[in-house]
């Protein structure tokens, strides 16, 4: 059974907990890093070489999530980046090559299926 390591970039602690809870509902997924700023996230990405980075847009610090995406991709070229935001950033996400998918925070129930699809995993039975 493959274990995919994940990094969550989110400045809101409760939201971070929720993302973790939703994703780790699938035993194949493991959260290895959490970050609240872009700088921390790049550091985590470089350290863990994750398969998926769940990235909020409005994060702490001077660099917003969307702007941090290219640096994250560079730090972990194999990682899929999922932009997960309460802002409607569909268009911006499509125009940014480093972003692999966008999901609105309205649709938390779809977080796990989208993550699995990005990682090329079948939904758990």
């Amino acid at each position: 059974m493959t274990t995919k390591v994940l990094v969550i970039v989110e400045d809101e602690a409760d939201m971070r907990q929720l993302i973790k809870l939703l994703l780790t509902a699938d035993p194949r997924l493991e959260v290895v890093g959490e970050a609240t700023t872009a700088a921390e996230a790049v550091e985590q990405a470089r350290t863990h070489d994750p398969g998926l980075i769940v990235l909020d847009h409005q994060i702490e610090g001077p660099v917003m999530g969307l702007e941090a995406a290219p640096a994250l991709k560079e730090a972990a070229p194999d990682a899929k980046i999922l932009l997960f935001s309460a802002f409607d950033l569909r268009r911006e996400a499509r125009l940014e090559p480093a972003i692999d998918a966008y999901l609105s925070k309205d649709q938390t129930q779809r977080l796990l299926p989208v993550a699995l699809e990005l990682l090329g995993l079948q939904p758990a039975a």
Binding site: L21, E60, G61, A86, K105, T108
Partner: protein
């Protein structure tokens, strides 16, 4: 009809003809009562009286009567000179010369014991006197005729025609006199007599046309300027901005009155537009500064201000109807200006609406983001608990429920703040102002703080009474204290002090302060600094906008002051009395 009959008929008509001229000038004077009209009517009353008297007394008047008639006749050129001088001031030398020669002519006749019959031999003294009168009459007439003829140059058609017709009348009458003076022997020179009388009679209608023209003349003369008047009127009716209205009106007014300048002022006496004058001079004119001897101003009062036309003294007399036309245009201008004002107001309102729409759009975007996050968290945890209740360990369940409660509280707070902001926007917040001891309010709020009240120090000298709504004052204080504890660093100091007529509340922390670039947006809704500590901490982004809104609703204000180190927020309330201990 013989030559003599014709001469007699012409002579007999003169009292009537000049009587009519005098009547026309008197009627005009009665209508307008201005100085120039008064002089004109005096001028022709004197001339007509002399002619009538000469006719009435017949062939054998007494010496005194003859002297009075001659004195009246020779005073005519001097009165004419005075009439002309009402429009342009002659030089002092000319004044003295005209006055002296006229005085000699008028008084001189009374020195003669006898006045020779026409054709009879005369004394040398009388010949000299006759020559003097000729020089006086012809000289003064020529000067006045030149003034009017030359003065008509460059003026609108009506004014020019009137001035030049008058000049022609003056010249015809002077020619008649010159002819009579040069060929005095009427007995053998009936052709001369015919010419003299023809010239004298022909001058009369010219005087009437110049001094009191009948409507038919005016209409005919004005036709030349009517196209332009029509163009200006249609421009004014067409409307446009204030500048376009003034641009259509003023140059025309200046031209139609042969004026030097025109100024349009508003009700407050400020210059709206000026033509032919710089703004400072235009303002001075509206303020009532002296125009100088050569100029005369025509003031037209409009409901929305004043129109002032600066011209020379010919304008108000010869362009009386033109002045009335300008007054009519002024009223039209008024309508046009009010329309321009309304259009400008509409434009401003539409821009305001556009700005307001953009603000609402930003507000909705920010609000929806801030509402979505807690909802997403609540939904997420609730769904997890609902679908996997059995699998979630007991201690996790409690943690999740606590998270749901925390986020629900946060959501409630955002909704409450949004409601307050919306009430502030619509002016629905009505503060219940009472004389409030702010020190007591602040200490209560500090005591009620969930976290960090140990880090807050309150400094207040005595009782500080301010007019404030108690609930608003609490909310203002709580928002500022929570901000200071959330985004700043302890210690946090609340200072209350009187700065008459205000009581000022200062909340200061010792953190990193507000980034300078963010200060201008600090009190905007959902404004959050990109840098510093603010982005990580959970606030609604509405706290400061509410602080300012409530402070202003109560007659006070709120602002930010940089402190070293830290941030300082100041709110002022209207003071409600003495401080004491």
């Amino acid at each position: 009809m013989t030559l003599a009959d014709a001469v007699d008929a012409l002579q007999a008509s003169q009292p009537f003809v000049y009587g009519l001229v005098a009547l026309a000038t008197v009627v005009r004077w009665l209508r307008y009562r201005d100085r120039a009209s008064g002089l004109a009517s005096l001028l022709f009353l004197v001339l007509a009286s002399a002619i009538v008297l000469g006719t009435v007394v017949g062939a054998d008047p007494g010496l005194r009567t003859q002297q009075v008639i001659v004195a009246a006749l020779v005073s005519f050129p001097y009165l004419l000179f005075r009439f002309g001088a009402a429009f342009r001031r002659p030089g002092p030398a000319l004044e003295v010369a005209a006055g002296s020669i006229s005085a000699v002519a008028v008084l001189g006749i009374f020195l003669f014991r006898e006045i020779p019959e026409a054709g009879a031999p005369t004394t040398t003294a009388f010949t000299l006197y006759t020559a003097l009168v000729l020089v006086q009459w012809v000289g003064l007439s020529a000067i006045v005729a030149w003034w009017f003829w030359n003065g008509g140059r460059g003026r609108p058609a009506v004014v020019r025609w009137r001035m030049r017709t008058l000049a022609a009348g003056v010249l015809l009458l002077a020619s008649a006199l010159l002819l009579a003076g040069l060929f005095p022997d009427e007995g053998e020179q009936r052709w001369v007599a015919l010419g003299v009388n023809l010239l004298a009679v022909a001058a009369a209608p010219l005087f009437v046309a110049g001094l009191a023209p009948p409507r038919v003349f005016l209409d005919r003369w004005r036709r030349a300027d009517e196209d332009e008047l029509w163009r200006v009127e249609s421009q004014l009716v067409g409307g446009g901005s204030r500048e376009e209205v003034a641009g259509a009106l003023l140059p025309y007014v200046v031209r139609v009155l042969g004026a030097r300048a025109a100024v349009l002022g508003d009700v407050a006496g400020r210059v709206v537009a000026a033509h032919g004058l710089d703004d400072a001079s235009a303002q001075a004119l509206l303020d009532g500064s002296d125009l100088g001897a050569r100029d005369a101003a025509v003031w037209t009062d409009l409901p929305s201000g004043r129109l002032v036309v600066v011209g020379d003294r010919y304008t108000p007399y010869f362009g009386r109807d033109e002045v009335e036309t300008v007054a009519r245009l002024g009223r039209l201008t008024d309508v046009a200006l009010r329309r321009a004002e309304a259009a400008a107001a509409e434009q401003r309102a539409s821009e305001e609406l556009r700005r307001s729409n953009a603000t609402i759009r930003d507000f909705v975007a920010a609000a929806s983001h801030d509402l979505r996050t807690p909802i997403a968290v609540i939904k997420g945890f609730a769904a997890t608990l609902t679908t996997a209740w059995e699998q979630v360990p007991e201690e996790e369940k409690l943690k999740h429920l606590a998270t749901i409660e925390r986020q629900a509280n946060h959501l409630a707070r955002i909704v409450a703040d949004l409601l307050t902001v919306s009430q502030l926007d619509s002016g629905a917040v009505e503060p219940d102002l009472v004389a409030l001891d702010l020190g007591v309010v602040v200490r209560e709020v500090v005591a009620d703080l969930e976290h960090g009240h140990g880090d807050v120090e309150v400094v207040a000298d005595g009782r500080l009474l301010a007019w404030a709504d108690a609930e608003h004052a609490r909310r203002i204080t709580r928002n500022l204290l929570e901000n200071a504890l959330r985004y700043g660093e302890p210690p946090v100091t609340v200072t209350l002090a009187t700065a008459s007529p205000w009581v000022e509340l200062r909340v200061r922390d010792h953190g990193g302060g507000v980034p300078e670039s963010f200060v201008p947006r600090l009190f905007e809704r959902f404004a959050r600094a990109d840098k510093g500590a603010s982005t990580a901490k959970q606030g609604t982004g509405l706290g400061l906008s509410i602080v300012r809104g409530l402070a202003r609703a109560g007659g006070g204000d709120a602002w930010y002051e940089a402190a070293e180190p830290g941030a300082c927020f100041v709110v002022r309330f209207p003071t409600a009395g003495e401080t004491g201990t």
